[in-house]
Symmetry: C2
Subunit: 189 residues, 2 copies
DNA sequence: GTCTATATAGAGATAGAC
DNA sequence: GTCTATCTCTATATAGAC
């Protein structure tokens, strides 16, 4: 694996566990096995590293999400799969990882302009995908809820980000499943 | 106002906007108008400052929450008031502030043990209060939902924390209201 | 592309005068 | 209780050899 990828992998894992502000070149240097100065060859500044990390994370995430949305399952199954992405992140590896974009959302006032914009877009685009699934659920009869789909999509996305945050804070990964199961109880036909 | 209180006020506002890791004695020093060294007289370490901040924040928060819970309104109105606490924080002051405990939740892996414990307790205690309101709502007939009250309480708390995070990330405070209104549409009788 | 060496800034923290 | 002065450590970043 090339060094650039290794750096991004380590940096992303650090963002997902301790956040961008607590992440340092020293951390990355030790984990990758190169000197701090060498990181600057691949990413001239920390801001550039974070920007690159966000771009890759978004691209990958929507790659998976769009596959779910375009699939042939019923809407409620698509929603389950979507929720599974978040739960999978929480259960990924030894350390419980948060959504990188959730962590950066908390730190958004300390990010550069480009990064802050991308975080905002990530949220809006997730809600758009969710809204599509919800509309489909009303059509195929697998989902039922009061209110408009975009508002419900906003609720679901905030809920999933919040549940990751709270589950980690409680040191109880299972809490995420309790909450997401409760969501499905509310909107499943 | 005494210096200790001023320091706590500034530190709390900083945690709520940029987070504990981005907050420095330099920031506090400038805002309060004393030297960095003087802060150490009141709080020997940053960890002690954060611990004190958390204790005060929790105490104040539950002071208000318990008044809401103990009031004579219907459960749905109590829930509205509870949600209003979060929205009020978001709209407090010029800068949009997050819940201090939400910010610290994101940073929980970088906190000391005492602080991490208190964050965890804050979450659990909020859910307990919410569960009480939800039980009451089923009794007084103002709330209706599938599933158990503790699970629903977990959902609501994660939702509110997540909605604050996402609303700030989207740079759209109104988003919080859209989401919280949608919640009420789902569970109001 | 990675290294050593270094620059510069800022962090949290301490000692001791007033 | 606040100050000046200083310490130590770590942060991001750069220069230039290999």
């Amino acid at each position: 694996m090339d060094t650039r990828t290794q750096i991004l992998d380590v940096a992303q894992a650090l963002v997902q566990t301790i956040g961008a502000n607590a992440m340092s070149y020293q951390h990355i240097s030790e984990a990758v096995g190169i000197r701090k100065a060498s990181i600057h060859h691949h990413f001239p500044t920390k801001e550039a590293l974070i920007d690159a990390l966000i771009e890759r994370y978004s691209e990958r995430f929507f790659g998976v999400v769009d596959q779910i949305v375009a699939g042939r399952k019923t809407a409620v199954h698509k929603l389950r799969d979507y929720i599974g992405l978040f739960e999978g992140t929480l259960r990924d590896g030894a350390q419980d990882k948060a959504c990188a974009m959730g962590m950066l959302g908390a730190e958004v006032r300390t990010l550069g302009e480009a990064a802050a914009d991308r975080v905002s877009q990530f949220y809006a685009q997730n809600e758009r995908r969710l809204s599509t699934i919800l509309d489909e659920g009303r059509r195929d009869g697998t989902l039922r809820f009061e209110g408009a789909s975009p508002a419900m999509a906003g609720l679901i996305f905030s809920l999933l980000e919040g549940a990751m945050l709270v589950s980690r804070g409680r040191n109880d990964v299972e809490h995420f499943r309790v909450v997401s199961d409760q969501l499905l109880k509310l909107i499943r036909s």
